[in-house]
């Protein structure tokens, strides 16, 4: 555990904040990965109805999600992890919901 005084140094050290960061990475990382996969589904090549593209977009959720989980410990604190990832989620979902049209057929 990082002690209090080290946090107050200039260029503050990275606080471990294990629980906070792990939860942020796992939950917000998953929702972010879903949204990014969704953006690729709708705006990537072929659009949402391309044959068997839904399988590919499901596959890319895993690396996106676990990439976020893996690197979320680099946030300086748990709070920052929640804020940054929460913000990224907001942007991604806003784009997805705004751009998502009706499905063909």
């Amino acid at each position: 555990m990082t002690s209090r005084h080290s946090v107050e140094r200039p260029r503050a050290a990275i606080r471990p904040d294990w629980w906070s960061k792990s939860c942020a990475g796992t939950l917000l990382g998953f929702t972010l990965a879903i949204a990014l996969s969704g953006l690729f589904t709708w705006f990537g090549p072929g659009g949402p109805a391309a044959a068997n593209k839904f399988q590919f977009t499901m596959w890319i959720v895993a690396p996106l999600w676990l990439g976020v989980v893996s690197f979320c410990f680099l946030f300086r604190s748990g709070l920052r992890a929640w804020l940054w990832l929460g913000g990224a989620n907001l942007v991604a979902y806003a784009l997805l919901l705004a751009g998502r049209g009706p499905l063909p057929h």
Partner: protein, 555 residues
């Protein structure tokens, strides 16, 4: 900043590793064995006198079976075993998704049909399910989800492990220092194994997450991305999308006609089986399964044909005829299954799987060793903590229980085949008894003693495989047999037995002569030893580079 990040990720690596190491050991060991599950299956099956029957009888068999069992509309005609004379010409069908004992219809010489339930052999099925669930009993979906979650943590363990290793990667790469510092040696071994097989591990980890958690991911995508209408998107991609249900009777083409049709479409495609759907109706289809060595495919690919007119309905799963998305996803599958590149890749995957199991095993050892150092530095009497002792015992019990349990189950299969009704259940029973017995034994005896004893037991169980074949060859009266074509199974098991025996000897030596404050020592009263490290009396002998004690990779 940099050393701080590394310290942080060392903790991430330790925790994710400790949480998943034992589950992943079982998945990897069983996964390595799945590469050869067909030969194993044949190894425990007595050679039956198969009357080689050309495919010519297939049309007659289908017609006769349809007459006898009109309600069976979905069935499979395997081509491979018939053409190679390994199995009679037969139609098979199952009642459940994973059924150890499918039904089979065979043609008798007088033209009548016999419908029988096949003997549930299923060491192949056991190995497969063990690989997918790590042996967690109950519903397949639960075990698969658990291994899916473990695989997710495993991805994080891989990334964090690479981050920890990066600064010293160039300096320490491929260096194995066999020195007085045992921890250093295990660390080097762990790093070399991890880095050399990193691409394999990344591929396996990510694809295993998908295999384990795809239902949950699809559910989330359905809600968020497809607005609850993913079903229509999936249906629009289905190979069967153009087939309208029509139960009116119709006459199907002969099996040979389908093979000719496929050959005309793609001469490089080697068919292995025909899977009928809605046979005998106007909507009848047949999936011609097979492989094409030039492409990455999911185990096998297929082309969907109309069974009445032989028209090509869909090629989205046919190697070389897939769309871009389908062929990319097929490549992901192929990279997990090792279903490409023939025997070289098969053996490579087998060895990489075993190396992976060893990676998790050495990872646990490192954790134990590093805990020990911490305690020594703390001063006072070196008494191993409960967590260290429990993890040592658990590592020994689970890993050797899995190794010994699988070997016992395989060897016993040959003895029990034909004697018992439900061989599949026996396979599982033997595996669980051996596995749980090893775990209980490890906790009762402590890691040090149990390590040696269970290594010898596993060596004996593995040696029982070639011994059974040898006995069958020397004394055929016992009801056993040897299959000359499957000597590879016996040789691999023999090599495994020898490796386990030599580990047992090394472990016993370390328990006696190694540092007595270790969990792996038998001498001290409060501590328990372990295994497979050379005595720490070994001279300082760097193998490939000067010894570096300043490395940042110390755990």
């Amino acid at each position: 900043m940099r050393s701080e990040v590394i310290r942080l990720y060392r903790q991430v690596h330790s925790w994710t590793g400790i949480l998943t190491g034992l589950i992943l050991f079982v998945c990897f060991y069983a996964g390595a064995v799945t590469m050869f599950k067909e030969p194993l299956e044949r190894w425990i099956t007595p050679p039956a006198a198969v009357t080689p029957m050309a495919l010519d009888g297939a049309e007659e068999l289908i017609a006769a079976t349809r007459a006898l069992r009109p309600e069976v509309r979905d069935f499979t005609l395997a081509l491979d075993p018939v053409l190679s004379g390994e199995a009679p010409l037969r139609l098979t069908w199952t009642e459940e998704r994973i059924d150890p004992a499918p039904w089979a219809a065979t043609l008798d010489p007088d033209g009548s049909v016999t419908v029988d339930r096949l003997d549930p052999a299923g060491i192949g099925l056991l190995v497969d399910v063990l690989h997918r669930t790590a042996g967690i009993p109950g519903d397949l979906d639960i075990g698969t989800m658990v291994t899916g979650i473990a695989s997710a943590l495993y991805v994080v363990a891989l990334v964090s492990g690479v981050i920890v290793l990066l600064p010293s990667l160039v300096k320490d790469f491929l260096v194995l220092r066999v020195t007085a510092n045992l921890k250093r040696m295990w660390l080097d071994a762990h790093n070399v194994l991890g880095i050399v097989s990193l691409p394999f591990h990344i591929v396996i980890a990510l694809s295993a997450v998908v295999f384990g958690l795809h239902d949950q991911i699809y559910d989330a995508l359905d809600e968020v991305v497809y607005d609850g209408r993913m079903r229509t998107v999936i249906a629009a991609s289905s190979p069967f999308r153009g087939v309208r249900k029509d139960t009116g009777p119709a006459t199907m083409l002969a099996p040979q006609a389908f093979l000719e049709r496929v050959h005309a479409l793609e001469p490089g495609f080697a068919p292995t089986s025909l899977e009928y759907h809605d046979a005998g109706t106007r909507a009848a289809t047949v999936r011609v399964w097979g492989h094409d060595a030039r492409y990455l495919v999911r185990r096998e690919g297929f082309v969907l044909l109309g069974a009445i007119d032989g028209r090509v309905i869909d090629t989205e799963y046919m190697p070389g005829h897939q769309g871009p998305w389908s062929s990319t996803v097929s490549a992901f599958f192929a990279l997990h299954f090792g279903s490409f590149g023939g025997e070289v890749v098969r053996w490579t995957y087998f060895l990489l799987g075993l190396a992976g199991a060893l990676l998790f095993y050495t990872g646990n050892l490192l954790w134990i060793e590093s805990r020990r150092r911490t305690e020594r530095r703390a001063g006072g009497p070196v008494k191993q903590s409960r967590s260290t002792r429990l993890l040592a015992a658990g590592t020994v019990g689970v890993c050797l229980g899995c190794v010994g349990g699988l070997s016992s189950s395989i060897a016993a299969g040959k003895w029990l085949n034909g004697l018992v009704d439900d061989l599949h259940a026996w396979h599982w029973g033997i595996y669980y008894v051996a596995f749980l017995g090893a775990c209980v034994w490890a906790f009762l005896r402590g890691a040090a003693r149990a390590g040696v004893e269970l290594l010898w037991a596993s060596a004996a169980a593995s040696a029982a495989i070639p011994a059974t074949s040898l006995l069958g060859w020397l004394a055929p009266g016992l009801g056993l047999w040897a299959s000359p074509g499957l000597i590879g199974v016996d040789l691999v098991a023999l090599a495994g037995a020898l490796a386990l025996a030599s580990m047992a000897r090394l472990t016993a030596r370390r328990a006696q002569a190694g540092p007595q404050d270790s969990v792996w020592a038998t001498g001290a009263s409060t501590v328990h030893p372990g295994r497979s490290a050379p005595s720490n009396r070994t001279e300082v002998r760097p193998i490939a580079a000067p010894q570096s004690m300043t490395s940042t990779t110390e755990v």
